[in-house]
Amino acid sequence: MIALSQVAFGLIWLTTAGLLIVKSPHSAAALYRLQAMAEALVAAAAALAGARPWLWLSVVLILVIKVAVIPPVVMRGLGTRRTDYGGDGAFGIGALLLIAALLSVGGFLLGRLGLPHPALMGMGFAALFVALVHASSRYQVWSMLWALLSLDTVVGAITLIWGRGLPEMADVAIDLVSLGLALVLAYLAQRIDRIMHARDIREMEDLVG
């Protein structure tokens, strides 16, 4: 089962890095789906390991909420920005890839500092760092939105490994929070599109901090 989890975490790390550099919301939605399926695979691996059979409920919830519900809801919220194309950010895409690679190496090493399942945790930390860079380095509203949802999935997967004592109610609560977050983000993205006509955060300067 460890091998299955490693494959799943590897997929999470790759899709997180993919979400960092994609230039269209449609590609982002596809990668997010793949990332969510990998999270479901982590839950399934933990359920198969026998420790928590109720994790099958989590598998179903992740597939329903993150694979079936969130992507279409978010794409609908993006409105006219669904067809946007571009990679505007604090750095170019090449530089982002380099930063992601360096942080990933850091993540892999961090996982080896005394945690159980060092390879899994290393990939988890690598994905976490890449998602954090994503949330702070891209300017387009759609990209920031997927960055937050990507971070949510990465944290959810790590929680599944560490949270061995979590009963189903807590897992359900965490999944429902993911759904709530996606709904709020989709609503705000829709209002940004309709009221502010902004495609990236540099066009949102009504408030001076």
Binding site: L113, G114, L115, P116, L128, L132, A135, V141, M144, L148, L151, D152, V155, I158, T159, W162, G163, R164, G165, L166, P167, A170, A173, I174, L176, V177, G180, L181, V184, L185, Y187, L188, R191, I192, I195, M196, I201, M204, D206, L207, G209
Partner: protein
Amino acid sequence: MTTAMWVIPSGMAVLSLIALLLPTHWTHVVRVLASLYLAGLLATQILNVWRPMDPVSSWFFITVAVLALFGIWYSGPYIAREAEAHHWPASRVQKYYAGFLLFLASLMALALLSNYVFLWAAMEVATLSSVLLVALPDQRASIEAAWKYVMVTEVGGLIALLGTILTLHAIGVPLMTWNPAPKGHLVGGMSAHWALIGAYLALIGYAAKAGLAPFHTWLPDAHSEAPAPVSALLSGLKLSAAVLIIYRLDRLAAVAVPAPYLRMSLIVLGLLSLAVAAVFLAFQRDLKRLWAYSTVEHIGLISLGVGFGGIALVGAMLHIWTHAASKTLLFHNAGTVRILYHSSNAEQGAGNMLRRTPWTGGLLALGSAAIAGLPPFAPFWSEWLILAGGFHQAADRGLALVAALLLVIIFIAVARRIPSWLFAPGQSGFREAQPIREPASLILPNAVLGIVVVASGLGLPWLAHPLWHSLVTELASVHL
């Protein structure tokens, strides 16, 4: 009883759902039901029918319930006028009450629940419901504020979840334990440094939720754009709840990691927040933004009190109430100013208040004196306890001195800014001197709250004697 506490916030969540489903003209009935529910909970707690898990929970729950009552009361006239002035559709008013009651339910859960994963979930519900409430006016500025709010605090929230689970896992506490301070130990195979990393991650995540500097960037925008009753509860209650979670988690982690690291982090974040407030308060021209930066200051003070420990910790708990009561008065007052003057900016006509709107101006003067820490108002006593706690320990004296100096600068900044609303003439000619009619429905909730603020300064330890006594007994010797 502890595991059944979820029933209490669930009652308010059900009322939120009812507010969403019933026709709009029934919202006043839902308001009355919610008020009766809160009053009943307060009465039954005073009569010892039920008890939260510890004095800190009791203290915070009473603070939530009392100020939520004022929030619901003030929401009635305030939202009616906002809706009329900005042509809100009826459904938006309905959404406001549904969101507001859900926000209240999450605050009650934050006071009563004792499991860290469900506390995190309650904090998330509080964040997401308040994000929607910030965006509710549906204007460019409110949407922008809501976006900043959700992006910064949700990254924090996810980091907090990770930190919480790592800490609990590292010190061997069952994740489903319904006890805020079970005895932990390091589980085999994990080192103390992972418990410390977890505690730091949780600290950073919840500090973002609390608006502690340097994670405060979302706070002034969200507070200034939210409807006034939401700003009040955000500032007074939700942010304090995040610091309370940090306190509980750090107390738990202190069994496995060097506690000085955790307490020093809280002190540094507290001082940084005071410094940010000291720099920015002097330049604010909008009343709500002024009180938003003041919130950064007061959350910093609560963080300092938790970090100093002992009598300062008692001061921090007292400050949660004193700050929340005073700030609720001030944000409600700022809402009244926006309605009466169509702005809360001193340079856009919101001036000369003592003459034009004597009740509103008078309550602004009263609240400002309280929040600036003038005796005999309650914040003076809580700030005094926090600083006294710092000076009491030789190692913290220098830090307490820095905090005291920053508080003096902040006092000067507030004292310098407030007269521009109270006395200074505005820009638009002779109309500036003409009185504005102050509707009793807007003034009365704030006037009663003003009395509560004064009374709590003069006699809180007597008014809340048994609870205050148990709080002091439990916390006066606690150091992280």
